[in-house]
């Protein structure tokens, strides 16, 4: 049981870490498109790790399925929202940021 507690702790902490990284990406990345990348991907993995961490301690099948359902709905919501934000930016003509060192090609 102690091993399971450690695994659960590791999953929860790494999930938190990915949430933190998603937020750092939101601050560090240069434009709206790259920021959507940071938020959707890092937060989805973060939430996924937290959900799997909590699955270890789930005391019944419906509770476990409820956790997975929450993750699935959050995945669909964030992918949809990310697409809508990117499409709105594209329609307004927001130019994607380009790396300066790489403009040779």
């Amino acid at each position: 049981m102690i091993l399971l507690d450690w695994v659960q702790g590791a999953l929860l902490l790494s999930g938190l870490g990915f949430f933190l990284v998603g937020t750092v990406g939101l601050l560090r990345f240069p434009d709206v498109y790259t920021r959507v990348h940071a938020l959707t991907k890092a937060d989805n993995l973060g939430l996924g790790l937290i959900v799997f961490g909590l699955l270890i301690g789930a005391d019944s099948v419906p509770v476990a399925l409820k956790l997975l359902l929450i993750w699935g709905l959050a995945l669909i919501a964030s992918a949809t929202a990310g697409y809508l934000v990117a499409r709105a930016a594209r329609r307004r003509g927001v130019r994607p940021w380009k790396a300066r060192n790489w403009e040779d090609d």
Partner: protein
């Protein structure tokens, strides 16, 4: 909508009703837990399935539930890679990004398969769906144009086609690409 109602109870509608009823009952069980009150949940699910059929007619493409686990494994592994990739780029002092917008032709039929593809690639490493033209050309924003973006979108297409049982129609289009 009225035309849909007049169509009556043909086989696809009955199948769709059964499928949705099953999903709603599963959802009721998940939400209400071990002390499920079925006297309330069962009629509620039956009525809701009827409403959903009225609002959204049966889809043209059927998901193959048995193929879902393989897709889930693909998806879980890819989201792990995606999160790791974006975390690495975020925390790297040099911020290694080389973003680009690519235009990729799609082989999947329009409708649900294309929508699932767009949602899925937004969660894959370094790709984000931006805009869809005429249900055929997808604009994809990628974090690093040095990666094989077209290849990973192709692979996702194959996975989605498998999920919908579309390989036969798909492989002829896939060979060309």
């Amino acid at each position: 909508m009225a035309e849909q109602g007049k169509a009556g109870w043909n086989a696809p509608r009955v199948r769709a009703y059964g499928f949705r009823l099953g999903l709603l009952l599963l959802l009721w069980w998940i939400l209400s837990g071990s002390t499920s009150d079925w006297w309330f949940g069962l009629p509620l699910a039956a009525v809701t399935a009827g409403f959903s059929l009225w609002l959204t007619p049966p889809a043209r493409f059927m998901l193959r539930p048995l193929r879902f686990p393989a897709f889930a494994i693909f998806f879980l592994w890819q989201s792990l890679l995606a999160g790791w990739d974006v975390a690495r780029r975020t925390l790297h002092p040099g911020l290694p990004l080389r973003p680009e917008i690519l235009h990729l032709g799609l082989n999947l039929p329009p409708g649900a398969p294309t929508w699932w593809l767009m949602l899925t690639i937004s969660l894959l490493p370094g790709t984000l769906s931006v805009r869809l033209h005429d249900q055929q050309i997808l604009e994809v924003h990628c974090l690093d144009s040095r990666l094989d973006v077209a290849g990973s979108v192709r692979e996702t297409e194959v996975q989605i086609a498998r999920l919908y049982g579309l390989q036969a129609a798909f492989s002829s289009g896939g060979d060309r690409a």
